[in-house]
Amino acid sequence: MIKVKNLKKTYRVHKKNPGMIGSVRSLFFRKWTEKHALKGVSLQVDEGEIVGLVGANGAGKTTLVKILAGIIHPSDGEAEVLGFTPFSRHTDFQKQIALIMGQKAQLWWDLPASDSFLLLREIYQTPKKDFQERLDYLIETLAVRDQMNIQIRRLSLGERMKMELIAALLHAPKVVFLDEPTIGLDLMAQKAIRDFILEYRKIHNPAMIITSHYMEDIERLCERIVIISEGDIIYDGSFRKIIMEYATHKVITARLDKNGAMKPSEFPPSLGEIIASDDDFIRAKVERNKVPEAASLILQKLPVIDLSIEEEEISNVIESILRKGME
C-alpha cells in the first residue's frame, strides 16, 4: 500500500546572524544552508500493518509523513501510496487517506464538531447511510456524544483529539497517518485513543504509520518499528526482535521485608546497576546473561516478598540504538 524508494528531502533554510547588524545585513546578503531531512529512505508498508516511526526531534519522521500524505514535495526518490504519487494529490488518492496531527487542529475552530463532520461528509461525498453508521460507531466508541454540539475551540485537548480522530476516519480511509496522536493527553485519554486505533484496525484493516514520542503508543500499537536518525532509517523490523537484539539488560524488581540480612546497598556491583532502592524495595538493571545469578542472590540474601523480572524500558533500548546510529 505504501512504497518508498530512496526518498530524499532537502530544505533550504535562511540563516541570520543575531542582532541588528545581522538583520540589516540579511536584507542585502542572505546566507542559505541546506538541511537534509531525509537522506534516502526506503520503506514498504502493507495493508493492515501499523508501523511506528521513532526518532529524535528533527530526525525526519514528520517530513516522511508529510511527503506520503501529499503535503510536501520530495527532493528526490520515489513514493507511492495506493498506487498514486502522493504529491500529485489526485482526488481518488485524497479520498482514501487520512492524516491526524496531534499538534495541529484540522477541524474548523468556530464550528461545533457536528457541523464539521457534515461538511466533511460533503467534501468526501460519503453516502449518508455509511456516514451515519460510522459516525454513530465512532461517537459511541470514543464517548463524545455530549460534546458534539460544542464549538471545537471550547473542547478540552483530549476531547478535541477524539473529534480529530472521528473527522479523519469518517470516510474510512485505507491509509492512515498519525503524527503524535496522543501528545499532551492525560493517561486515560491516551489509552482511549490507543484502544480505539486498535479497534479501528480490526474492522477496517488500513495501513497505518504512527509517529510518537510516547513509547507506550509504539509498544501497544505497532508490531513493526522504523527508527529514523538524522534522515536515515537505522532500524526497520519487528518490535519483538528489537528487544531480543538490542535490549542487553533486564530489570529485576524485588519488594522486601525490612529486616533482611543484606541491605540493598550491598548488592554486588559486578552483577548490575541499582536503579532505585529503599529499605523495602530494590530495582536493579542486570545484563541478560547474569539475570539468573542476580535473581538467585537477591532471593537468597534478601527477605523477598515479591520479585519480578522485566524487559528494559523500550525507550532506553531505542535511545541506545539511536546513540549507536549517530556515532
Binding site: G70, I71, H73, Q94, A98, L99, W108, D115, L119
Partner: protein
C-alpha cells in the same frame, strides 16, 4: 465534479459572519459614516469655494452617494480577509486543504463569496436608508438595467480582486511577511480605484491609461454603472478588460501556486 460541499461552506460562513453582530451592526456602518463625514466637510468646502453646483459631473448630493457606495463596494470586493491565506502558509494550516479532496482556491473563494454576500446585504440596507432619508440625486437614474450592469461588474471585479490578492498572499511561500504588500495593494486600489476621489477628477490621459489596469473596475467603474452613467460600449470595453485580467491573473496564480508548493514545508505542524 460534485460541489455540494460548496453550499455547506457558504452557509457555514454566513452563520459565522452573522455571529459577529458587533461588526455587522456597529463597527462597519460606523466606519462608513466616518468616511462620509470626512467627505462631506471636504467637498462642502470645495463646492463652496468654487461656487459650483456640479463638479466632475456630480452634484454635491451625488458625490455623497458616491462616498457612501465606495467603502461598501470595497467591502463587497474584499469579501473574506484573504490574509488568512498567508497565515495558512506560515502556520502550516494549508496542509489541511492539501489533504482534503477539494480545491484550496475554490474553498477560499466560496468563503470570500459568502462574506461578499453579507457585505452586499449591508450595502442594500445602507443604500435604502440613504434613499429614504436623503432621496436619490436627480442626475442619477437607478434602473433595473443599471443595477444589473453594476452587479455584473461588481461580481466580476470581486473575482478579479480575489485572484490578484491571492497572488500577493502566495508570496508568503518565499517571503517572511506579506502584510506590508497587502497594505500597499489596498492603498493602490483605494487611490487608483477611485475610493479616495472619483477617477473623473484625474486628468483624462491618466484615466484612459488606468482603464487598462484592474483598479478602476474595483470601485469607480461599478459605481458609475449603478448610477446609470455607463454607455453600452463602455460596459463591454470594461468587461473585456476585467475578463482579460482574470485570465492573466489566473494563469499567474496557477504558476506561482505550483512553484510555491514545491518550497512549502508545512512548518508549524
Amino acid at each position: 465534479m460534485n460541489l455540494s460541499w460548496a453550499s455547506t461552506v457558504f452557509s457555514s460562513e454566513i452563520k459565522k459572519m452573522l455571529s459577529y453582530r458587533v461588526d455587522f451592526w456597529l463597527q462597519f456602518p460606523a466606519l462608513v459614516l466616518i468616511q462620509i463625514f470626512l467627505a462631506y466637510f471636504l467637498w462642502d468646502s470645495i463646492f463652496e469655494s468654487r461656487g459650483a453646483s456640479e463638479l466632475g459631473g456630480y452634484s454635491f448630493h451625488g458625490l455623497m452617494l458616491y462616498y457612501l457606495m465606495a467603502p461598501l463596494m470595497d467591502r463587497i470586493l474584499r469579501g473574506v480577509e484573504l490574509r488568512f491565506m498567508s497565515f495558512d502558509i506560515y502556520e502550516g494550516t494549508l496542509s489541511r486543504y492539501l489533504i482534503y479532496p477539494v480545491s484550496f482556491f475554490l474553498y477560499k473563494y466560496i468563503q470570500h463569496a459568502a462574506q461578499s454576500f453579507i457585505s452586499f446585504l449591508q450595502f442594500a440596507v445602507m443604500l435604502s436608508l440613504f434613499a429614504v432619508i436623503f432621496h436619490v440625486p436627480e442626475e442619477i437614474s437607478l434602473t433595473l438595467t443599471s443595477f444589473l450592469t453594476g452587479m455584473m461588474i461588481l461580481v466580476s471585479a470581486s473575482l478579479m480582486y480575489f485572484i490578484l490578492a491571492s497572488i500577493f498572499e502566495c508570496i508568503a511561500f518565499w517571503a517572511d511577511n506579506v502584510w506590508s504588500l497587502m497594505v500597499m495593494l489596498r492603498l493602490t486600489i483605494f487611490f487608483l480605484g477611485g475610493g479616495m476621489i472619483p477617477l473623473n477628477f484625474f486628468p483624462d490621459w491618466s484615466l484612459e491609461v488606468l482603464l487598462y489596469t484592474p483598479f478602476p473596475y474595483m470601485t469607480y467603474f461599478p459605481i458609475r454603472a449603478f448610477f446609470g452613467y455607463l454607455s453600452v460600449q463602455e460596459f463591454y470595453a470594461g468587461m473585456t478588460v476585467i475578463g482579460s485580467w482574470i485570465l492573466i491573473l489566473s494563469l499567474s496564480l496557477r504558476l506561482i501556486w505550483k512553484r510555491g508548493l514545491l518550497v512549502y514545508s508545512g512548518v508549524g505542524m
